[in-house]
Every structure is written in structure tokens, then in C-alpha cells.
């Protein structure tokens, strides 16, 4: 039997297919402006017996493909727990949401916090800030790590932060240092969210933003704890959904 999980996020769609508990297929595409067409293309030629959808597009997928759904929170808890059996805390920062999840020893979510309507401190925020500084999203974290000076950025709202960044540039501050300041402000917000939920180890950082090595480094520094990052942090939701489709968890 082949079990699939699809995570339709605000920025990307991930698909994971399992056979006998092993990943046999892992795909990714941009969500674009028509995520259902993108999802359909991503699924082309993929065989599966059951599929579960997660992510903000799950209900649209449910209608179009007659699939079951779970929330990203459950999917991440299941996916991350399967890879890291001792995990107690998950930080997931995606394209438009950030979530702190506490899980028990059975890999079940027991408490969570999630940002409300505003996308402050999420992947979308980072993308816009990187763009303002003239970096690609991949360069953004790497360049921030090269900074030698701390600059305090106080705005978390994308609009305000953008004007704050512009005025810092006009003042002659270096892009690398502004980039570090932006990373620090996102980390402060994430740490506050984690502290309301759990900072019990093992802590796993997942979601697209976990690919940013500066974020990883700053989180470890702020929490003074070792933080694990999966090899493919963006696929944890799809992986968890696939495990759920197989009734494995």
C-alpha cells in the first residue's frame, strides 16, 4: 500500500509518498496563485491508495479530491515525532504562520500557540525584508551570519519594518547588520511564543524558515539549548500527513 500526504501551504506545496513506512517519493512546488492546479500537477503520475491533506489549502483540496484532512499542527507533531522520537517541543515557521507545539511522549500535540491574522515574523516577512536588502531568501540568513554589529529592529509589522529598514540603510548601516537585526527580532517573537507553550527538550525547528541557518543559530543562542532541524524541514507536514494516511500513527 502507498500512502500520501500533501501539505498545501501559503508559499509551497509538499508531497510525500510512503510504502512500507519508507519515503518513496518527495516532491515540492510553489503554491502560486492557483494552488489546486499546482497540487494536481504535483500529484501527476503518483500512485497512492490513501491521501491526507494538510496546510491552509487542505479544505479546498478536500473538496476537489475527496480526501481527509488534518491541521498542520497535528501533521507536524506526527511527522517530527516519527523522525525524532524524543521530541517535546516543535517550532514551525512557515510562509504565513508560525506555531509552537508541545508534544507528549506519544507524539501527540498537547498544547500549541499560533500567530493570529498577521504574518509578522514568518517566511513571507523574511522574503520581503530580504528583498528590501537586495538578498535572495537563501542569501538572507548566510549574510546575516557575517554581521559584526548588532542593530535593534523594533518593528514586526511588514510595512513598518520595511520603512525602518529603509531608514537604517539611509543612515548608512550595512545590509548584513540590518539582516541580523531582522533575524533577531523574529527570534525574539518565536522565543516568546515557545515560552508560552513549552521549551522542553528535545526541541525541533521545522517549516521552511528552519532552512535558514542564522535563525537556527540565534534560536539556540537565545534558548541556550540544542535545537534539531530535520534534513528537509519543509516536508514535515506532508510526511506527518502520509503517516496518518497509513494509520501508522
Amino acid at each position: 500500500m502507498r500512502y500520501a500526504g500533501i501539505d498545501i501551504g501559503s508559499r509551497t506545496i509538499e508531497l510525500v509518498v510512503l510504502r512500507d513506512g519508507e519515503i518513496i517519493e518527495s516532491r515540492q512546488a510553489d503554491s502560486g496563485f492557483d494552488p489546486m492546479t499546482q497540487a494536481k500537477e504535483l500529484l501527476a503520475g503518483v500512485e497512492h491508495d490513501h491521501i491526507i491533506a494538510t496546510g491552509y489549502g487542505r479544505h479546498l483540496f478536500e473538496l476537489s479530491f475527496d480526501a481527509l484532512t488534518v491541521t498542520e499542527i497535528k501533521a507536524y507533531a506526527v511527522g517530527v515525532s516519527a523522525l525524532f522520537p524524543g521530541v517535546r517541543t516543535i517550532l514551525d515557521i512557515g510562509g504565513q504562520d508560525s506555531k509552537a507545539i508541545a508534544v507528549n511522549d506519544k507524539g501527540k500535540a498537547i498544547k500549541f500557540e499560533m500567530n493570529d491574522r498577521c504574518a509578522a515574523g514568518t517566511g513571507k516577512f523574511m522574503e520581503i525584508m530580504a528583498n528590501t536588502l537586495g538578498y535572495s531568501i537563501d542569501e538572507f540568513g548566510k549574510e546575516a551570519l557575517k554581521a559584526t554589529k548588532d542593530i535593534q529592529i523594533s518593528s514586526m509589522c511588514t510595512v513598518f519594518a520595511e520603512s525602518e529598514v529603509t531608514s537604517l540603510l539611509a543612515r548608512g548601516e550595512k545590509p548584513q547588520e540590518i539582516a541580523l537585526g531582522l533575524h533577531r527580532s523574529i527570534v525574539r517573537r518565536a522565543v516568546a511564543m515557545l515560552k508560552r507553550v513549552s521549551i522542553k527538550e528535545a526541541i525541533v525547528f521545522a517549516g521552511g524558515v528552519a532552512r535558514n541557518s542564522c535563525m537556527h543559530h540565534l534560536l539556540e543562542e537565545a534558548l541556550e539549548k540544542n535545537i534539531l532541524v530535520p534534513e528537509n524541514p519543509q516536508a514535515m507536514g506532508a510526511f506527518g500527513a502520509a503517516l496518518l494516511a497509513g494509520g501508522i500513527c
Binding site: Y56, H59, V70, T71, E72, I73, K74, D97, K108, A109, I110, K111, F112, M114, N115, D116, R117
Partner: protein, 425 residues
């Protein structure tokens, strides 16, 4: 129906075009949220009718009462003692709020960081679409939170008949003395308005009418203990909302009729959702018609609401008024005692509220609590974190929601509520 009431609305000074638009949105919302529910009790048909006539027949009734010399008093709060209003043959109605309206006009008068409930009340007045406020002979503003208290200074310029009632903030002897003084002053104001002197017989009758209304709601709440729940939380909320608008005697009869049907359902083990559906207690700010957003999200996410710890719910209807007194003084004292127990978050400290939440979780066998805080509502938002902490210490899962009347956060709310329901399973 609108054709028949056009003249009535025009005479009340309503703006017909936006009012038509409002009714259309309200009707559509009701259809989408209420009429799509499965297994509704048949006797909810009465409430469908009430909702379809909420700006029509009910207003005509109020105007007929006015023509017969009786008065209409509008209120925004459960602290306005209905017993006193009824004793003077007057009718107490809840004033419109619960949806964003005329927001640009409102923004000219109120700061942006004012809660939706206050903004909405102003929107309905400024947009001239609330027939209740236009029918009222007296509008009671009460000093609860700072937002409402200060906004009445502005509302005073918009309506000719605002009466401001002061309220205590502490459950002390001095607090109670203030409530007593204010209720006695209110009684005099109602007597002056109606020209009726409130005697023992009248006050007893007033208490009886309101107590019966409360008893019917208590009966309804009690039936919601059953699993499967015989009625949805949305429908029970609707009954609690209509409580503020409908003729009280007819309302009491209609709720009792629903209860008779629910009793039979329970005997047959019938419910609106399957047995074992996760049960939620909703706690926090009041939800006026048509603020159904959060209950709708909860009940379309695989859970059922089994109780409302809210002004539009048990905070408003808990406790009967003792009617055993033989003098006006004794009965007034009983009314004061009853209302002084209301555990509104404007009181400091307010430990009774937490006790009531825990009590309700046990009584209705709720699996978790969703705390509804209206954005910018300081008293309830301030209480939300200690409430969450205290409940979690008792192993009662709690989800704190901070939202308003807009629909822009529905997607994220749905994810949070669904995830909360998943962890209750």
C-alpha cells in the same frame, strides 16, 4: 416581508437602502450558518421565524405597545435590571451590535483600538439601521468597561434619551451600596418615564416574568448535559440571544417547547452530532446577533458547544431573583443581591468567574474550554491568561482566541480550532 414594513422603518428614521443591505447580509448569514445545520430540533422553527422578523414584526409589536402607552427601554448590558422595567409595564430590549456597520463613520468618533462591540453599536446608530434604538424611549448606558463608559459621553450627542447607570467595580460593601443606590435611582427614572408607581404587586410580577424566562433557559442548559447533545451550541446561543429581544412570556413558552422536544430526543438517544463528539465550553465576551463566527467555526470543526460562560449565556441568566419579600424595599434588596453576583470581568478581583468556568466544565462534561476575547476588550483579555493557566493546572485544555467581528482571520481561526479539537480526541 420588507415591503410591509417600509413605512414603519421610514417613520422610525431608518435609512432604507443600507437597512435593506443589512437585512440581506443578515438573512444570508443566517441561512448559511443556521439553516445548513443537520438534525435541528423542529421547534427551532420558532427562532427561524423570530430571526426573519427581528426588524419587522417584533418592531411592530413594540410600536403597538408604545401606541398603547407603554414604554421601550434599550440596553447594552445584563446589569440593567429587567424586573424593574417589567414592573412598570415597559419592555427591555437589547440594542443592536454584533456586526461591523458604517465603519468609516464610526472611525470619525471612536479610536481605532475600540472593541468591535462598541464600534458596532455606534455603527448601527450612525448608519441608522437599528430599529430598536430608534424605538427606545430610554437608552441605558452602564459604566462597565472604560470603553463603554467613555463612549457614552459621545453617544449622548447622538441620542436624546441616554440614561447612564454607574456600576461598582469591587464586590465590597461599598460596591453593593453603590449598586443599591443606582438601582433605586433607576427605579425612580423608570417610574418617571412610565408614570407608573412600582408597588409590591408590580415588582413581584416583574420578578416572576423574568425568573420564568431564566428558568426556561436553565432547563435548556440542563438538557445540554446529555451526550449526544440534543441541540447545537449555535441554536442554544440563538435562544440566549433572542432572550434580549423577544416578548418574554412568548419566549419562555417557546424555549420550554424546545425543551420538551429535546427531552424526547434524549430519551431516544438522538442528537445533533454523534455521541462522543468533543464537547466545548465557550467562555468570555458576549456574542450578540449576528456574531456567530466562532461558534460556527467550532461546530464545523468536529466539536459541539455545550455551554456559554458569557453575558449572552449563563453569566446573564444564572441565579433567580428571590421573590419572597413582602415590601418594595425587600424585593429591591433581592434584585440587588441577584445582580451583585454577576461575575463580569469589570470587577476586581473576580475569582467567582473562574469558579463558574470550572463548575460549568464539570456540569456539562466539557472536554475543553475555548476562551473568546474580543480584540481590545481589556477586562476579558486581561483575565484570559490567568484563566487559561488555572484551567490547564486542572488539566482542562484551553484555547485562547482573540478576535473581532471581521472575517479576515477565519482561515487561521479554523486551523487553531481544528487543531484544538484534534488534541481533545
Amino acid at each position: 416581508m420588507s415591503e410591509n414594513y417600509k413605512d414603519m422603518w421610514k417613520n422610525l428614521g431608518l435609512k432604507l437602502v443600507p437597512h435593506d443591505a443589512l437585512l440581506e447580509v443578515l438573512g444570508k448569514g443566517y441561512e448559511d450558518i443556521y439553516l445548513t445545520q443537520n438534525n435541528r430540533p423542529e421547534s427551532m422553527a420558532y427562532f427561524n421565524f423570530v430571526m426573519s422578523e427581528i426588524h419587522g414584526l417584533r418592531i411592530k409589536e413594540l410600536l403597538d405597545e408604545k401606541a398603547a402607552g407603554r414604554k421601550v427601554i434599550g440596553s447594552f448590558c445584563v446589569f440593567v435590571p429587567e424586573e424593574i422595567v417589567r414592573a412598570a409595564d415597559a419592555t427591555l430590549v437589547g440594542l443592536c451590535t454584533g456586526a461591523d456597520f458604517a465603519t468609516e463613520e464610526v472611525d470619525k468618533l471612536l479610536p481605532r483600538n475600540t472593541c468591535s462591540l462598541i464600534k458596532s453599536a455606534f455603527g448601527f446608530k450612525l448608519g441608522k439601521v437599528c430599529p430598536y434604538i430608534e424605538s427606545a424611549d430610554m437608552i441605558v448606558g452602564e459604566n462597565t468597561c472604560d470603553g463603554k463608559k467613555k463612549s457614552y459621553e459621545i453617544l449622548k450627542n447622538l441620542v436624546p434619551n441616554l440614561y447612564v447607570m454607574d456600576l461598582p467595580q469591587m464586590k465590597s460593601d461599598e460596591g453593593k451600596a453603590l449598586l443599591k443606590a443606582e438601582y433605586l435611582r433607576f427605579k425612580e427614572a423608570v417610574e418617571k418615564l412610565t408614570g407608573i408607581s412600582i408597588d409590591v404587586t408590580r415588582l413581584k410580577k416583574g420578578i416572576d416574568i423574568v425568573n420564568n424566562k431564566r428558568k426556561a433557559i436553565h432547563r435548556l442548559s440542563d438538557l445540554r448535559k446529555a451526550d449526544p447533545s440534543p441541540i447545537s451550541g449555535l441554536d442554544a446561543l440563538l435562544a440566549n440571544q433572542v432572550y434580549f429581544y423577544d416578548d418574554p412570556i412568548r419566549f419562555t413558552g417557546s424555549v420550554n417547547k424546545i425543551c420538551d422536544e429535546l427531552k424526547k430526543r434524549i430519551e431516544k438517544k438522538e442528537g445533533v452530532f454523534p455521541k462522543g463528539t468533543p464537547r466545548i465550553l465557550l467562555s468570555g465576551c458576549p456574542m450578540a446577533v449576528p456574531n456567530w463566527k466562532l461558534p460556527w467555526i467550532i461546530e464545523t470543526s468536529g466539536a459541539v458547544i455545550v455551554g456559554e460562560e458569557s453575558c449572552v449565556g449563563e453569566r446573564g441568566t444564572r441565579n433567580l431573583t428571590d421573590d419572597s419579600g413582602n415590601t418594595v424595599d425587600e424585593l429591591m434588596e433581592a434584585i440587588i443581591n441577584r445582580y451583585f453576583k454577576v461575575d463580569c470581568a469589570i470587577f476586581t478581583p473576580n475569582p467567582d468567574r473562574l469558579d463558574h468556568i470550572v463548575e460549568m466544565v464539570e456540569k456539562y462534561q466539557a472536554n475543553g474550554v475555548v476562551h473568546y476575547g474580543l480584540q481590545f476588550c481589556q477586562p476579558y483579555l486581561m483575565e484570559s491568561m490567568p484563566v487559561e493557566k488555572a484551567l490547564e493546572e486542572k488539566n482542562i485544555p484551553t484555547l485562547r482566541i482573540d478576535t473581532d467581528y471581521s472575517m479576515e482571520d477565519v482561515g487561521q481561526l479554523k486551523t487553531r480550532v481544528e487543531a484544538f479539537v484534534e488534541l481533545l480526541k
